[in-house]
Subunit: 345 residues, 4 copies
């Protein structure tokens, strides 16, 4: 049983984290802090938690986070980097669900996030929390950078191909579609129901912050820099990411059994499900669960490989992966608290 | 640990039942029968179950349902009444999620359902499975009639007022709105996405099959026949029912503390949550959970009482209530397998 | 050909007004003012107008609105009452799509809208722009109060019954459901896609600003004060209002031919369509058009009459009705610019 | 004024065609045939047409289609090819909104559509009705093959680049997303609201019938065979297609001004709108209109060009383009009957 603190949690990542932790048998959520909402019962903001989460948001000053075993940051970018140092020094482990510790290259981070990094020395130490890549490092992490939603879906789809060197990785294409909860619980016109419903659009074609994060992960997998075009889209659903990935097979790739490659790469992974050949994963097949489902296609037997990868952006793309990482960090069973089945329809 | 059989289960009630039973620690699903789909893995039809439910649909003739402890019928109306007799005689208990055993008056049933009832003698014995009304009778039921979705939401909203005799029950109005999953997984034009999305309509104003069921329950609660106008509507969401109920308070009602009345009526009920005065329950606050949340209002302090009642039609309105009834029938903790929090957003 | 000015128009009512006026053969839109957005091309905010509306928002000070024949206020409440006096004095006619001139009783207005009314003397003169009731007065109006969306749908549904004295008008019930565009284009958390999608809820049960407006209209129709319970709901669609109306028939009402009553009341009305007996109007059947479709039911032949009334909240409930009123005020054919068919699916 | 017959029209393409023709000043719809629905008023099936279309579906045998000037086929594939010969021989011109005359290579057609073609000689004569490519040929066409929805969006996006030879056209990628109305008004489980809402998926990755149609058009534009990967997706909205197109620029392409290229290619085209550099077109910006809006991007100044192309699948992707073609064939102004603005929100 460990004591948990949560900083933030007034957004969708936060409520999902609380939904999962409320049923986790090994955690005790001691404090949920929000300067702005201090005093408000959490279940008043998120009515699904009523009867399950009795805490109110507390003022950070009163929260004694330094006496927790673990603190989650479910905050906007730029908050965790201000507070992680003190917590780590107090022996508290940290999982940041925002982007502060995701990019190893601080200069690149500062360019994309348009802030000066407050804590570059922890960047060097931080572990990127994609368990399918970094499982062992995660176990002992003091500062864990929980991956972004698009980067999770895109990396898991490309990794088998890139690691095995079977595609021309100078020209990878990731066409990704996200539900609107990915835009967060901020009051913005572009996320209004009457703007986003019955509508579809791309955004950020000229550059999205998840691009360098994906590129970093795939570069590591390839052993050399990769070229990536990443186009995110907004689709009128609440949850879910669908990544459609394109690459050109090289000679080795054309000779390979791609279905077997994916099956072997993810054998034993509790949260990656490789679908049978010919499948088309649906986002709802992973809704509210920590699964990533992937399928690999080679249309008309040509040289282009198409990978379809779906996750729930709030679970495997955020809160669920954070709980998975917590389980690894504290030696719990990996799937603890994450056993709920996807909700369909 | 009990052995379970399921007849049908190719619809939304079925997949939801399987989602819940897959995590229930005291049940073993032995067979899921479907003449039409025999041989097909259940998880092929319902991809959320992949990795959690390994059974294939089996032919009813091979299924040995008579060796189960309990058989659920997740079938269209008219199936359970054909098969229940033999199962009961073999010592198997039956929960029918369809309507075959819901109305005590067989003649009325035959009129609304336009069939001759195949098993009237079990109608007399069958227990109507609304635990908040019939808890004790449910425990020993051999044949349990699981309530309809609208009837659950409407009865739970009206019961405190009608039982206490605080309203003019000759003129009750239930304006109910359902998500489209309530229409089932049948291939019908009216349930197509392009028909039901961005659209709202009433249906069945001249008479819906849930009208006599609700009237029966409220008549029992009142101790005399009640008058009810029931108008169902289709709203463009997947899950959820919102019932808005109207009644005129009589003198006793005008003097009563309605908030206290509701709180007392449902004190200790694990699946009914009375919201604070002034609340507006949202359907998503109960999504994927077995809760009914209700709020009672008296607008402008007048004589009209307005009750708002929300459920997930597939859970408290179908599969979840069936599991609750099963728990009662077999002496399990009432909430076993139903602990999942609502999924929001 | 008349010259038009529009104040505001940065919301959904505004863009819909521009969509309609862009195809109206008798109007010339001279200026669209917005202090906040001055300089921005209107089509940049509303991409559907690109290629059809070339104006930019202009600063109110520069707009010479006093040289227009007509000025529309598509503004929040409280703006038109500040500016209407000067325009009227300059000979400009005014249509306010907000609520400033809707309630004859200034004290009641101030109580519901929580502002001091800046121009009570124009309230007395203002004409309530429901053409089906006030056609002749509208023709000569200098200040026209365009009705609210809910009030349009509810009044058109109740009017035949209330005018003819066929129901107990001390206890009218209006259960109304609106698409989310009714909440406007304001950046508010409650209107976010991830809040409003796949969700249904009531709001404002204890009192909504459209209640006194509806009550005023029905009281006028009845010739005496009526009792009304009005419960608005938010339904996950972009456009549309569905009002479900309940009343108890008195003796005369029980004897009347309600279908004929509705048909006669709206005979010749270009924008009210009385459906055949037994019909259930759908909101999409009026989408993007100025129609109100109504159906009248008497379930099970009882004493309760149920009226179903649907409109597009942005057209018949706002911009379209404003254009209809403009047509009347300037002697154009009533349907001019409003001939577009509903868009379905 | 011309006389029009319509065969079929019980689907979404049909109702949209009727919506447009009902306001077209130069056409008289004489007959709408449907063997199955003969006798049923069209407005009963499509309530938006009530008051605007008074015809009933008629039996094909009685419809005297051979006395029309033009017959539209809004039918499933395989119908027009059976009836076109007789109509053409009777001097009637034909527009087929299905696929019977789209592919010049009859053998390829038969392979993809799994039918023997009943009228190969008219295939040779038929004109592919993409006005931006074939305007002059369309004017004199006797048999016009109206393009598919995906092919319209994809071709209009790729054409400027392919015609100018600026990309490696051996490896074009089209990632396309369609609203659910694209699946038609057939009663199929996969198109149910509760299946398609809050869900996103690819389909037909191994081969979709629109692939050869797009390839044929781009091959013609390039002057040599092109390589194309086409992945369609289903997105939870009613109308709209968003095509995201990827290609690698060759040396000439890297040197070119792509924005100018697109602007020049479509200068004077009434129904293609090239957006300013940096734009992200939204499907709703063309909803219910005949526009295609396109934007061209070169992310991070690299060698990959990304084109975004949006249409309303039922208008520019079907009925609207058919009316455009009719206008060309009969010498009407190109935009006649297609002047309605997009409906937003």
């Amino acid at each position: 049983m460990i004591d948990i603190g949560i900083v933030g949690a007034t957004g969708y990542t936060g409520v999902e984290l609380l939904r999962l932790l409320a049923r986790h048998p090994q955690v005790n959520v001691k404090a949920i802090t929000s300067r702005k909402e201090a005093g408000m019962p959490v279940a008043e903001m998120f009515p699904n938690l009523r009867g399950h989460v009795d805490l109110a948001f507390s003022d950070p000053a009163q929260a004694a986070l330094d006496q927790c075993d673990l603190v989650f940051f479910a905050t906007p970018n730029g908050i965790a980097m201000e507070q992680a140092r003190a917590l780590v020094d107090a022996g508290v482990r940290v999982i940041d669900l925002a982007a502060d510790f995701r990019l190893h290259d601080v200069a690149e981070w500062e360019q994309w996030y348009r802030m000066t990094h407050a804590c570059p020395e922890l960047v060097a130490e931080a572990v990127y929390g994609l368990p399918e890549v970094n499982r062992e490092a995660i176990r002992s992490a003091r500062v864990l950078a929980n991956p972004g939603c698009y980067p999770t879906a895109v990396q898991l789809g490309f990794l088998p191909l890139v690691e095995a060197g079977l595609v021309d990785d100078s020209c990878l294409i990731a066409d990704a579609k996200s539900g609107v909860s990915g835009a967060g619980r901020k009051a913005e016109v572009s996320s209004l129901f009457a703007e986003a419903a019955d509508n579809f659009k791309a955004y950020g074609v000229m550059g999205h912050r998840h691009l360098p994060e994906i590129r970093q992960g795939l570069t590591r997998a390839a052993g050399h820099p990769v070229g990536l075009t990443f186009v995110p889209h907004l689709t009128p659903m609440v949850r879910g990411i669908h990544a459609t990935l394109y690459a050109t097979l090289n000679e080795a790739g054309q000779a390979a059994d791609l279905q077997a490659l994916f099956a072997q790469r993810y054998a034993g992974e509790p949260f990656v499900d490789v679908l049978p050949a010919g499948s088309h994963p649906e986002t709802r097949s992973v809704r509210a669960s920590n699964l990533c489902r992937v399928a690999v296609h080679r249309p008309q037997g040509g040289n282009v490989v198409v990978v379809l990868s779906v996750i729930d952006n709030l679970v495997k793309g955020a809160a669920g992966q954070a709980v998975h990482n917590m389980n690894l960090m504290f030696g719990f069973a990996e799937t603890l608290g994450l056993e709920g089945l996807p909700v369909l329809p």
